[in-house]
Symmetry: C2
Subunit: 340 residues, 2 copies
């Protein structure tokens, strides 16, 4: 597949439970589960242990914004523990919906690589911990929808073409028929924001890990082609209006004095689309990718070194966004484009 801005990142997750322990937690079980996993993981290099109870509010929210920890785990102050490697690609959540949830996030389309990395961790854990497993069903999990492989292979995609052309409902319907789930940027129940969507497998039962990865990859390839076609169609059908919206989004991002996360995500989607169409030149694409995480609420507070009230946070966000884009984005004028 071409290098493109459509596939943002890939996330692979395995759900595991300790055999002979009921899924419901109590003080004793939660402590034992955490202890057993931490004992194994502490043999590995580069992993740090973060009990949620000892995590500052800001640090916890930062981990959620980086997708390293689920909001559910963060709410489980009593039993929740996160184990995260130093380059923040692999995290293990303990005492979440399942006893153990292993997760790997990598940039771009990298589901197989993610699964390979998790398999190393999973093998080491399974050599030391007896997982709840049934020879007929596979891995047993707290929620029936994960029984079998316990695998969720998820891809974060940027789909402005499908969104702005009003095709997104049809797209979600089509994905569901391919046994794929479509979720917002912060997972189940969160809204579709900034034209970002997570596409993942629905099935875990009666299907192998490899088949799962292949089925998601197949769906992703189809989506990429549709998205490309939609972007071309949008420009052909409503070019002037679209360029105007993109340039005004840029003008507002560069000049705003206060901006909320949601509005930032919406305007930023137009800006990225503008880069795709060649209306802007980005000096550093990595800097732009980082910006989304940097300007989430906890990201902003972390930059300020303290919790901020909403007004102060929105003003600081506007300042950071304006400065970063001023330094990284060059607006090309239409004549420059047509001369290309």
């Amino acid at each position: 597949m071409d290098k493109n801005d459509i596939v943002i990142s890939s996330r692979v997750r395995l759900a595991r439970n300790v055999a002979d322990y009921p899924f419901t937690l109590n003080d004793e079980r939660a402590t034992l589960i955490a202890k057993r996993v931490i004992d194994v993981v502490s043999q590995l290099d580069n992993f740090s242990v973060y009990p949620i109870s000892k995590l500052g509010e800001l640090d916890g929210r930062l981990l959620v914004e980086k997708h390293l920890v689920s909001p559910d785990l963060l709410n489980n102050k009593k039993y929740g523990v996160a184990v995260i490697n130093s380059n923040q690609t692999v995290s293990i959540m303990l005492n979440e919906e399942d006893h153990i949830r292993e997760q790997c996030i990598l940039p771009g389309l990298a589901l197989s690589e993610g699964l390979n990395q998790l398999n190393i961790i999973d093998d080491i854990l399974s050599q030391n911990i007896d997982f709840a497993f049934n020879s007929k069903l596979g891995y047993l999990t707290s929620c029936l929808t994960n029984v079998g492989t316990g695998l969720r292979a998820s891809v974060m995609m940027f789909l402005p073409g499908l969104t702005l052309s009003g095709q997104i409902d049809r797209f979600i319907y089509k994905m569901n028929r391919l046994n794929m789930t479509v979720r917002g940027v912060y997972g189940e129940g969160t809204e579709y924001l900034g034209c970002l969507y997570q596409i993942s497998n629905q099935k875990t039962l009666g299907i192998s890990e490899e088949e799962t990865i292949l089925s998601v990859k197949f769906a992703i390839e189809q989506i990429v082609e549709t998205e490309k076609a939609m972007r071309m169609q949008l420009m052909q059908q409503n070019g002037d209006e679209l360029i105007d919206k993109i340039l005004r989004a840029y003008g507002q991002l560069i000049n705003c004095y206060t901006i909320g996360t949601h509005e930032f995500m919406e305007l930023f989607a137009y800006l990225k689309l503008g880069i795709f169409y060649g209306l802007f030149e980005a000096q550093s694409e990595d800097a732009l990718k980082e910006l989304i995480t940097e300007v989430q609420p906890a990201g902003i507070c972390s930059k300020a070194g303290r919790m901020l009230d909403d007004e102060t946070r929105d003003k600081l966000r506007a300042k950071i966004v304006g400065e970063k884009l001023q330094n990284n984005i060059k607006r090309l004028f239409i004549s420059d484009i047509t001369n290309k």
Copy 2:
């Protein structure tokens, strides 16, 4: 009164009719009226005669946008004639609602100066033409609301403070109680656009020209003080939101790819307010004042040298606005302002 951006321009108008001619026109009367006035005016330097029937569509609309000719006169292709001086401050409309309407427009608050200039023309005309006049009532006019002095003294004001604070309805009510009329930027029946309002006298009967000018001046002085107070209050009460709106308006004006007249007027009002608050520095205030006329529909077409369809016109407007503001407006950053 301080030099300020609140009072834009002053317009003085005298309504006159030829004695013993009915107000309703026919071919013979219209031709005679035009001939008699033109004969007198042609003795004066610097006046040009524009019969509406011979005026190109674009040229006619340009005169309306410059407030030198009323839309009603332009629609009267059969009989209408405009006589305009070379620096476009004085115009005489023939065969409009009245046989003769003399008008003078000057920048800033200059009602007395305007009346003085008109009186010179009016004296010359009255030496050659017998005006319809009644010793008890004064000048007789087609519409009863002009009987007496036939004078309308009108001031164009920029009132974003009153508009954005939601006080405009109360303000109009108060003006009506002072016997003042409040109209939109293009006169009777036009909407309030870009925070621009024309304030003028209602009464023409039982009041002298000088009293009329004084009463309008008195109202204007009151409005200026209220407007200043409202601008301060707006900044105190909703500073962050207001600065944000102003900066985003600027960002959109600089970057838009297509823009209609109405939206331009609205965003430009915010920009001018931003200059007042010191958020921007304007290199040439005159260039900004001209911009409003330049980017009206006929102004744009005149720049292109031909009539344009709406889409092309709106794109050309965006280009002209962007370039002019890029060259004339410097955004000051908040720290620069507080350091002042």
